[in-house]
Subunit: 205 residues, 2 copies
DNA sequence: GTCTATAAGAAGATAGAC
DNA sequence: GTCTATCTTCTTATAGAC
């Protein structure tokens, strides 16, 4: 990895653990393996490093959103995937989603950084809500909506059903972000949550 | 309010908006109406102000927990309250709970401060989880458990039912903390959430 | 308990050699 | 692009008068 990008990577790690204000350019440089003044050949200020992280992530989010939309506009293909969906498959889907969000290094660090910085300005607040509230509800609502069209789930209110599916996942994720040692407990609750979700919304017969 | 306590109050406001590291003793003093050096007659350091806030809150939490436990150990009295519980009452209960947590000044500022500082050390992480995960699930689990004994709700897994009740409330609360202008939207989702919750878990006949 | 003046140190950023 | 040396500013905290 080139120095310019390694700076972003190490800065993201530090920002996600201590927050922007508690990280000194000194520490970032040390982790990169250079001296602090050398950082300024790559970025004009500490704030510019933070901004570059946000930019990079906005870029990733756009790509991600595009990928999700493409899948979404081909319901026929998606429906095929969920044709044989049963409770165990739903548990695996939810658990995998949870584990991915929790363990993917970039995703986790960025989420924690945004958790710390979300109140600093309106832009960061919007990014957080977009990424961890609006987008997941929208995307998962689409997927669960497919299961409803398949007749595998039953509801008159897909958005609220989606809230019921996602909110517990989100809350357990925040628990594990701050107390990683509670992951097993969280995974157990996750599984129980989804099985109960399936009983509540699944076809009853 | 005496100066010593006004310092805590103004510091809490600032810490909840910008985080500990981004608040200067200068600003705290200015809001209190004194000069920065005078702060040091009341608290020996900026960190001591933060610690005093945490201490004060731990004290409030203990009282609160005690009050809740006392209610909880008298199920007969509580059961009486929920005897005539119906969907509209449940909506009001949830909405009131939500509005209280969202608008109570002290509660809101402390929650936001803890949101920012939760990753700084294990103690703060534990306080956050305790206050916004374990305690609400425990207390609401007890209340919903009463409704199950009353036969008003039906489930074989009260803890997961409680997760289904509380997680959406928690998530909507975090949305409003960072984007207060979304309160109306959140309240609408809250009501739909609880009505759907009641349909899912309520006696079906 | 509050003030003014100031010490002490930290942290971001720049200059200029290599 | 990286370094050493240094500047500048900001911030916490103390000293000592009132």
């Amino acid at each position: 990895m080139d120095t310019k990008h390694k700076i972003l990577d190490e800065a993201l790690t530090l920002f996600s653990e201590k927050g922007f204000a508690n990280v000194f350019v000194n520490e970032i440089a040390e982790r990169v393996g250079i001296k602090a003044p050398s950082l300024y050949k790559h970025y004009k200020s500490k704030q510019a490093i933070f901004d570059a992280i946000i930019d990079e992530m906005n870029h990733r989010f756009e790509q991600q959103a595009q990928a999700l939309t493409i899948d979404g506009t081909d319901p026929a293909a998606d429906a095929e995937v969920y044709k044989n969906m049963d409770e165990d498959h739903l548990v695996k889907l939810g658990t995998d989603l949870f584990k991915y969000y929790l363990h993917d290094s970039y995703t986790r660090r960025f989420r924690k950084m945004l958790t710390i910085e979300q109140f600093q300005d309106k832009d960061l607040a919007r990014v957080y809500s977009q990424q961890y509230f609006d987008m997941p509800l929208s995307y998962q609502g689409m997927l669960l909506g497919l299961l409803v069209s398949q007749g595998l789930l039953v509801t008159e209110n897909v958005p609220i059903m989606t809230l019921h599916f996602y909110a517990p996942i989100y809350m357990l994720l925040t628990v594990c972000d701050r107390e990683p040692e509670r992951e097993q407990e969280a995974l157990k609750l996750m599984e129980e949550h989804i099985r109960q979700f399936d009983k509540l919304y699944g076809r009853n017969f």
